[in-house]
């Protein structure tokens, strides 16, 4: 029996802005097993970052978790005090962000920024923390870490900075690492290196990982299970093979069609999903994807679909799987060509 490290139950997060309540996350439930790597995928604005910031309790004014529970190792993080959360953040749950160029403080050395987390959470001396910082830099593949530890962020390239961010995140051996678009700001070859590193580290340090990205191509290699988000809701959830080869939700199919294909080179035609994401101040009352869905039916506009489970662990929120729905020839976007 696998142990659940994280279990999010019906979490809703809103931003109370002057133009109205932005319902960024409208009730998501998912879990993560110990040692597992979960991908959260969805177009920009679908609520992925807000989901992760909610789990970390890092939301800033005017954002709040208005409902739901976030169980981490059996304890509800939503109920924890600020001080209790501080000893969770950076220690048991760590996070890395999209833009390594701006995520490190320009006026402190890399070493200082790694040591800071270690000293904060563990009873170690400054010298020991420095040793740890050097070890971490070595672990994430920074050459000559003994001298690099005293460099400032501007002396590191983008890829190296993201490695340094990973070093900070892993410095206290967290149980969970959340990586929010860790490769989006990097160029393609560096992207591949960082993903390779994450995969490698997952084995070495035995951390559970949540990898967030708008690009399904990124999660394919690293994650065993995938959640597809749209309009602040989970549209589909399943094992990576399910999502890539037997997608259920028309939105997932749309995402699959928009993955750049290496095998086709420049001749490929990317098919972005036409239309734009829903307004989260007045979210649609039915399926959030209805306005862009080629199969939308009358009921889709009226009622939010529940989850239909096709096989254990693979489910989608779509009326097409209701027993009374008409049968369609679905353009799934699945490609069997591999390698």
């Amino acid at each position: 029996m696998t142990e659940k490290i994280l279990e999010v139950k019906n979490m809703k997060t809103s931003f109370y802005t002057h133009v109205g309540e932005v319902q960024a996350v409208r009730g998501v439930s998912f879990h993560l097993d110990k040692g597992e790597a979960l991908g959260i995928v969805g177009e920009s604005g679908s609520g992925k970052s807000v989901t992760s910031m909610s789990v970390m309790r890092l939301l800033q004014y005017p954002g709040t978790i208005k409902e739901g529970e976030v169980f981490f190792k059996g304890e509800d993080l939503v109920k924890k005090s600020k001080a209790e959360m501080m000893s969770v953040r950076g220690n048991q749950i760590a996070m890395i962000f999209q833009d390594p160029m701006t995520s490190l403080n320009p006026v402190y050395t890399i070493g200082n920024q790694i040591m800071e987390a270690v000293i904060r959470h563990q009873k170690v001396s400054k010298a020991e923390a420095r040793e740890r910082a050097i070890d971490m830099l070595k672990l994430v593949g920074i050459p000559s870490p003994e001298t690099r530890v005293d460099n400032y962020p501007h002396e590191f390239s983008g890829g190296m900075r993201q490695r340094a961010m990973i070093a900070i995140a892993l410095s206290c051996q967290p149980d969970l690492l959340i990586a929010d678009e860790p490769t989006t700001a990097l160029d393609v070859t560096i992207q591949a290196q960082i993903l390779e590193l994450l995969k490698d580290l997952k084995k070495k340090v035995n951390t559970s990982i949540i990898l967030i990205t708008h690009d399904l191509g990124v999660v394919a290699d690293v994650c065993s299970r995938i959640i597809v988000m749209y309009g602040g809701l989970i549209m589909e959830e399943g094992r990576a093979e399910d999502i890539f080869y037997e997608p259920l939700h028309p939105y997932t199919m749309g995402l699959l069609k928009s993955i750049p294909r290496l095998d086709l080179g420049h001749k490929q035609r990317l098919v972005p999903i036409p239309g734009s994401p829903p307004d989260l101040i007045k979210p649609p009352k039915g399926c959030p994807f209805a306005a862009r869905c080629p199969y939308a039916m009358k009921i889709c506009l009226e009622h939010q679909p529940g989850y239909y489970e096709r096989k254990p662990g693979h489910k989608a929120a779509c009326w097409l799987y209701h027993q009374d729905a008409p049968t369609w020839e679905l353009d799934t976007g699945v490609r069997r060509v591999k390698g």
Partner: protein, 306 residues
């Protein structure tokens, strides 16, 4: 670092040469001479005076003599105060201006920066509104109004504080408020906007994600970055504070540099006018240099090495 300092010193000297030259030629381009007045002096007297002060020499010679004076710190005799040199006037006036400027600077740094920080951290709360209102008033109301109001209320009406001179600590209150008012308000606003901007940066989120307490996030991660633009402003501002505001010195009857500067303008005392201008310029240039060095310590991205 050493190389950088030498390079900077050279460029400072060049800047000073420019300032001194422009001042010199502007003075000579202005019609009218120092010995013109309503009461016409006899031709012979003017002749004698011109000779005495070398005003008959060709312009290039006067210029070279003057530049030599500037670089040997001999700014020449005053045309109007017989027997006094410009150096004497600066030595007499600068200590007053400098002391006043020092306290004004202290007030600006010790009050303006914390006010800006509080305002930013409590943005849109009453503390922020209070600071914003005070700062707007401070920026909008000119120093002579603050000074005059101060004298009216605290000296004439209430009789609590003296209205002129600089002999006791009480004498400093009015002039320091009048002198620092604008910059204090400006620094508070600058600090506020800078802190607000820095608090939105990604590295602040990173610091929070490490589990650091908010106070460490603010003091360690935000302030060091947020104060960079403030330090930039402080350099030339300190120079301006220390060399005296003629308005404030006039209102509070303080015998500082500003007083001599103003008098030299109205009396066409050219050497005093040029001398005080160049002194001010030299002081400013030096302060900017000091700030640039300080920069190197705050911001590692700025390389002073090459």
């Amino acid at each position: 670092m050493g190389k950088y300092i030498i390079r900077r010193l050279i460029s400072m000297i060049i800047t000073l040469v420019f300032v001194a030259s422009i001042t010199f030629f502007l003075m000579h381009a202005v019609p009218g001479g120092p010995f013109q007045s309503e009461k016409a002096l006899p031709e012979a007297v003017i002749q004698a005076l011109n000779e005495k002060y070398h005003l008959d020499d060709p312009l290039w010679k006067q210029y070279l003599d003057y530049m030599k004076g500037v670089f040997t710190f001999q700014l020449g005799p005053s045309f109007k105060r017989v027997g006094t040199t410009v150096n004497d006037l600066i030595i007499a006036g600068f200590p007053y201006s400098a002391k006043l400027g020092f306290f004004a600077t202290l007030a600006i740094v010790a009050l303006g920066i914390p006010a800006g920080i509080i305002s930013a951290l409590k943005s849109n709360k009453w503390q922020d509104y209070l600071v914003t209102i005070l700062a707007t008033v401070g920026v909008a109301v000119p120093s002579f109004v603050i000074g005059a109001l101060f004298i009216y209320v605290f000296s004439s009406k209430l009789g609590w504080l003296p209205s002129f001179g600089l002999t006791s600590w009480k004498h400093y209150i009015g002039p320091v408020i009048a002198l620092s008012g604008f910059s204090l308000a400006f620094v508070a606003r600058l600090t506020r906007s800078s802190v607000l901007e820095v608090m939105q940066q990604d590295y602040i989120r990173t610091a929070r994600a490490k589990g650091l307490p908010e106070i460490v996030v603010i003091v360690k991660h935000a302030l060091k970055n947020a104060l960079i633009p403030v330090v930039t402003y402080l350099g030339p501002m300190i120079a301006a504070m220390m060399t005296g505001s003629f308005i404030v010195e006039k209102i509070f009857a303080i015998p500082g540099m500003g007083k001599y500067f103003v008098e030299s303008v109205s009396s066409r005392d050219y050497t005093v006018l040029m001398g005080t201008t160049i002194f001010y310029a030299a002081f400013s240039i030096t302060m900017i240099f000091v700030v640039d060095i300080a920069y190197g310590f705050i911001d590692p991205r700025i390389k002073l090495g090459d």
